[in-house]
Subunit: 444 residues, 2 copies
């Protein structure tokens, strides 16, 4: 295996002829180049692949039809013209890299292709997005020790962690059908739950709707059934990373989860950001995978020199809340928590390797959630369950409102970005969801 | 909603001009007519839809191209010519029924279409099968109270059932990518496990490979995200039922399952039978949904007059084991357990309704496992974990061998059939899997 190294696409001094890409506040400088599926808003056009540059989208379908690129990059652009990116994701790291290089060169200041590529741009404000790929299977990990400890201690103060936690990247299978793209309305689910003190469960509308700030790991080339992925090869199979909100109904989840884990408390909806930041773009933000003294050493199959040296990724995560009252008073959304993926107990490579170690096959476009990402401090919780101590201490917003859980009309905005102080930051865009009023109960 | 009633296709006196369909030992009399995806063995042909009749397959692709049928049945047959049955499954109950009626009439003794249809037959012994549909999501229920109680009592003798068991059709999301068709080799997975008495977990090859005798419920027309399926309409959304073996690695499962449920102990492989028996074919075998005295009444959303009257289905289930030693001595596989789906604590309609009550969308071809089906008696356990009391009392085979769990080379054969004493029995064919030698450990 070749371990990728920084190349010309990472040069922090690069500038683009798309001027908005050179501004300090953009998520999408020329060093980023994330992928999405888009079309002109409110149109009947086919969705196709695009790459973000500043406040524009480079339409890869048009790039392919104009044959701006050659060789592997042209073939890759042609695959990106399809209605999902799955085939492109299946092509593997060398092809992704060839396309990235061609796009980077074409979008640079003084590119000979500026005129042709300028013809392939659509402003992001005029676009709408679809899921970037068909998600065959969605798996959700539980990889933040801070989250596991803090939520565990709410319910089992003496014994917050299960005995396997520090050995296994714990995960459960999630629901693929109900994954939606950013801005999809979030319906409040109904279900069975047991109110404290009542002897029998009842049926009703969830009163404990929550978000979970996660990252989504999008698989590239898969593995065959029965053939595990070794940890030194794991990242070759990963296409990129997006933001993920694992919406949760805590009352439904609490009553249903024993003994087989979360089910309807999660499967009503899961949303992801439109933009997938490639693993190659994240290369300048890799960090050593470090465990505190006294933590167990990972078993051999979850350990490797590369993972130790650069298994972690420094990604800042932020959750904001916009309530109906803020909106009515034209206030901006309020940041309610920050965390960083570098604090995660398990790395991307460890999650991929563990998932396939039994021979389970991962396919291009499959999605792995990292689990809620929480920092060590109380205000760094990645969900309201943590921040409000399971509703016992509602959080206070600066306009005087409080929240134990989400209320109808609340909008949750998630962001993520990398910034190593050396050149422009690269961002993940926004993942937005607004809680709609409750579904009519089946019993009405 | 119209509740389906027996029609001419269920007439127990019907006979077919395909003589093998009239023999007493066939699974596939003209009253059955289950669907599969097949092609000529070892060929490069496209897989296409077919219907079993006696020892033959009616090739629906050929039926469609010869335009043997008309109207809805012709349109349906055309969809069955595709490489998966998902589109046909999406068409809904009236269309499935129209095609069933046309096939039944065409295959009857003295059919005017005998000559044309005889040209569309392939012997089953010359065929190979693919998954009948693309499975978007796979969910596994835990719907047999006998199984839940017996396995629960192995590990928690004082408290075998979780408090929600009799209120919720408990389920977890399973892995769709590793679902395979009958006869696919079953690899023994590696993984993390904790040996009794050791202070730390280790990595190795599973020593506790098990089968689970389940039924698979295959979804037809789906529901939209956010729109639950009411129980009185649930069965309209179900295409049919197949056999399902939820292979399990008990040692991996035991160590990983807390707190989020089974993961790698299950996701290495799941196999299903090629033939899907339609819900319409199962109509003569419906039974009242009965709960013993003292059992709680289901909550309103899981209760309906139709479900009470005929929610259950009388399906006999049988597991046989063929060991390498039996094979060497030319012995037949030995039946090691029997059970019946009529004993299931939850009905198909209850599982579908519960799954969607939070607004989760089910799609055509989605698969719901019923969970291991066990009868009330010890020898009616649907898995070795139950039969051998978690390995403490290995079962004795008539050739003197014993089994606590499966050994390499063991073949598990599952069968299912309905027989109400009134006409021919209808069967599900066979679901076969042979345990291959272990995967090479990643650490070798």
């Amino acid at each position: 295996m070749t371990i990728p190294t920084l190349n010309e696409t990472h040069d922090p001094t690069l500038q683009s002829w798309v001027h908005s890409a050179n501004e300090g506040d953009t998520d999408f400088p020329i060093q980023n180049l994330p992928f999405a599926q888009f079309r002109r808003q409110d149109s009947e056009e086919e969705f196709r692949g695009g790459v973000a540059i500043g406040d524009q989208i480079l339409d890869l379908s048009r790039v392919a039809s104009l044959s701006v690129f050659s060789d592997a990059a042209q073939i890759a652009a042609t695959e990106c013209a399809e209605s999902t990116l799955n085939k492109f994701m299946a092509m593997g790291r060398e092809t992704w890299s060839a396309l990235r290089l061609a796009i980077s060169r074409g979008l640079r200041l003084n590119s000979a292709d500026e005129k042709k590529l300028a013809d392939c741009l659509l402003p992001q404000r005029d676009a709408e997005y679809a899921l970037p790929c068909h998600v065959g299977d969605y798996t959700d990990f539980f990889a933040s020790l801070n989250h596991a400890e803090k939520t565990g201690s709410l319910f089992r103060p003496d014994n917050p962690l299960s005995p396997n936690y520090k050995w296994i990247p714990i995960a459960y299978h999630g629901r693929a059908s109900s994954i939606v793209i950013s801005d999809h309305p979030i319906h409040r689910p109904s279900g069975q739950m047991k109110v404290k003190g009542s002897s029998e469960p009842g049926f009703g509308i969830s009163q404990k709707l929550d978000y979970e700030m996660e990252l989504g790991i999008v698989m590239g080339a898969g593995n065959r059934l029965g053939e595990p992925i070794k940890i030194e090869e794991a990242e070759q199979h990963v296409f990129g990373v997006c933001l993920l909100n694992d919406w949760s109904a805590r009352d439904i989840q609490a009553w249903e989860s024993r003994p087989l884990g979360p089910f309807l408390g999660k499967s009503f909806i899961t949303s992801i950001s439109p933009w997938i930041v490639t693993l190659e773009a994240l290369l300048p933000y890799r960090k050593p995978f470090q465990r505190s003294d006294g933590e167990p050493k990972p078993l051999d199959y979850l350990d490797s020199p590369t993972n130790q040296r650069q298994g972690a990724v420094d990604i800042n995560l932020e959750v904001s809340l916009l309530t109906p009252s803020m909106q009515a008073n034209q206030q901006a959304a309020e940041v309610i928590s920050n965390s960083n993926f570098v604090d995660c107990y398990w790395t991307i490579a460890q999650m991929v390797t563990h998932h396939s170690v039994n021979g389970c096959n991962l396919r291009p476009g499959d999605l792995l959630g990292t689990g809620t990402q929480s920092g060590p401090q109380r205000q760094e919780g990645g969900c309201l369950l943590e921040l409000s101590l399971a509703g016992r201490e509602p959080i206070a917003l600066s306009n005087g409102e409080t929240r134990a859980f989400l209320q109808d009309g609340d909008t949750v905005v998630m962001r993520g970005w990398c910034d190593n102080g050396d050149g422009p930051r690269i961002g993940f865009g926004r993942l937005v969801g607004t809680c709609s009023t409750a579904l009519t109960s089946q019993n009405d």
